[in-house]
């Protein structure tokens, strides 16, 4: 989907000739050491920073020069790492805002999302800012799902949540992919993330170091030694 991306901030290239792709209904995971440009690569795919070279193709269309808001409209959902919920809005209002551009029936969409995240249905009238970290992440993912994306992009969805919550979030992400949505995510918890990944990308200094299925990367001796801690 994205090929030969080179980009960066203020003259220095953080991402160098990097390629990422994911198919419908599959999960792609980007892992790598700190400062490898994982989040930057993700932002580049979403158009939050301009590419110096390379292109982004979505559903067969070249969208390299499309603004992020436009990308939301054509079916790309993005969950940022920080500040990813409206803290002063209730959980339900967060979801409604996700469906802001959608013409379809918001309440049925909402019920579908609540089915996926039952805890949010319970807390629908609470302010998102008063929820725990894990629940907030669920709200963030749920909000992005309300845009009915064909590609869901998650920037470290499990940052700062407990291992139990992390497992649960990963379960939900697998369920989302099973409905036919393509998922691409950046993860710090590389081992667990690769276990659910159809496709894994190991980034080092902004370039692809290894590209393989999640299972094969987990089995790869060098990947395990260098990036998964043995």
């Amino acid at each position: 989907m994205a090929t030969g991306m080179t980009c960066g901030y203020g003259g220095t290239y953080i991402v160098n000739d990097c390629a990422l792709w994911v198919n419908k209904g599959e999960i792609a995971v980007i892992v790598g050491p700190n400062g490898a440009g994982k989040s930057t690569a993700m932002k580049a795919v979403f158009g939050m920073l301009n590419l110096c070279s390379g292109s982004v193709v979505f559903n067969g269309d070249d969208i390299t020069h499309l603004a992020p808001q436009e990308r939301v409209r054509i079916g790309m959902g993005f969950v940022p790492q920080n500040r990813n919920v409206f803290v002063s809005l209730s959980v339900e209002e967060n979801l409604e805002m996700g469906a802001f551009i959608s013409d379809s029936n918001v309440s049925t969409l909402k019920e579908q999302v609540f089915e996926l995240f039952p805890i949010l249905a319970e807390k629908r009238n609470q302010l998102a800012g008063n929820l725990s970290g894990g629940q907030r992440q669920q709200v963030a993912v749920a909000r992005a799902l309300m845009t009915q994306p064909r590609l869901l992009m998650l920037d470290e969805p499990t940052a700062g949540v407990s291992p139990i919550v992390m497992d649960e979030l990963f379960d939900r992400i697998v369920e989302i992919a099973l409905t036919g949505v393509a998922v691409i995510m950046v993860e710090q918890n590389a081992r667990q993330a690769l276990e659910i990944a159809d496709q894994g990308f190991v980034l080092v200094q902004g370039s692809n170091r290894f590209i393989d299925s999640g299972k094969l990367l987990l089995a790869n001796e060098e990947v395990r030694r260098s990036f998964l801690g043995g």
Partner: protein
């Protein structure tokens, strides 16, 4: 009897004026807080926006009066108000297109917006003086009192009376209608929620497909309408004088900050807090205490905390106390 008189005195000179003034401040503070919530800057030109709205309403009112159009016993100004609102919204949007949009595109810092609004304030103050001059205008017609001082005394037989001016009731009724509708809009409708979402987290609002220019447009429409209503009610109840609106900016900002910047309900509360403090602190309690105190214990002085000349100092003091003790305001607001 004595207690009844004391009560009547206090109601007439402190409670009713405070509620009326508080309602006017609340409407003004709501406008400031909404512009702050969406555009993230302290809009110093809001006072002049109020003045502009009141001015247009006055001009239209006198036009109606010469044409003999009226809605007696209700003041003609209320008939002219919608036109005033439209004119105020128009000038607010024009100012946004000509001035603030430029800084928005450049992603300027809030302080630059604030300074630009200060410039706009001076420009509008000049414009208003060119159009209507620096003099006072009293334009309240229709029935003056709902209950006059004398009638009240005749009915109750008390020494003190409670007078309710028609403009005071109009202020309250209009404020109530405006605030309820505004809160309904902000908390219940799709675009109201979008405004809150945008105010909360601009980037995420963009990711949700909310059009920022639409939100800004709405914010100015609301702020313009609120400014015109507040300015008109204030001058209808008291008097219209361009200079007052430069001064009133201070209590309005105090009310906004006390309530918690960017918090609509806070702005309403803040307006009443400032109004009650201002009136209560500058009121002479001598007569009130004379009624309550045992014979020969009457206070000698005026029992007035500070002179009315210093009423704007009250806003300053409350502002400083709030910033020291509870910098976020009554309802925690925004900090940037």
């Amino acid at each position: 009897m004595e207690i009844a008189n004391a009560f009547a005195l206090l109601t007439n000179f402190v409670i009713i004026p405070s509620i009326t003034y508080g309602a006017q401040l609340s409407l003004s503070a709501l406008g400031v807080t909404i512009v702050f919530g969406i555009l993230r800057f302290a809009n110093f030109s809001h006072g002049e926006l109020m003045s502009f709205g009141a001015m247009v309403t006055i001009l239209i009112t006198s036009l109606f009066q010469t044409k003999g159009i009226n809605i007696f016993p209700i003041p003609t100004a209320l008939l002219a108000l919608p036109i005033g609102i439209i004119a105020t919204i128009a000038i607010a949007l024009l100012a946004d297109q000509l001035i603030f949009r430029f800084y928005r595109k450049n992603r300027s810092k809030p302080i630059i917006f604030t300074m630009a609004s200060l410039g706009l304030m001076f420009f509008m103050a000049g414009l208003i003086r060119i159009i209507i001059g620096p003099n006072e205008y009293s334009f309240a017609d229709g029935a003056r009192f709902l209950i006059s001082f004398r009638d009240f005394k005749a009915i109750t037989g008390w020494d003190q009376g409670i007078a309710i001016k028609q403009t005071q009731l109009i202020t309250l009724v209009v404020t109530l209608i405006v605030v309820i509708n505004l809160l309904w809009f902000i908390y219940k409708t799709r675009w109201g929620k979008a405004m809150r979402a945008y105010s909360d987290n601009e980037d995420l609002a963009l990711l949700s497909g909310i059009n920022p220019e639409r939100v800004v447009l709405l914010a100015w429409i609301i702020a313009g309408a609120l400014a015109c209503v507040a300015g008109t009610l204030y001058s209808l109840d008291k008097i219209y004088k361009p200079f007052i609106f430069t001064q009133i900016t201070l209590p309005v900002f105090a009310a906004t900050i006390i309530g918690g910047i960017g918090q609509p309900i806070g702005a309403v509360l803040g307006g009443f807090v400032v109004a009650f403090s201002e009136v209560a602190v500058t009121y002479s309690f001598k007569k009130f205490l004379t009624y309550l105190a045992p014979t020969n214990w009457e206070p000698q002085g005026l029992v007035q905390l500070i002179s009315t000349d210093y009423k704007y100092a009250v806003s300053y003091i409350i502002l400083i106390v709030v910033l020291l003790l509870r910098p976020t305001g009554i309802i925690p607001g925004k900090t940037t």
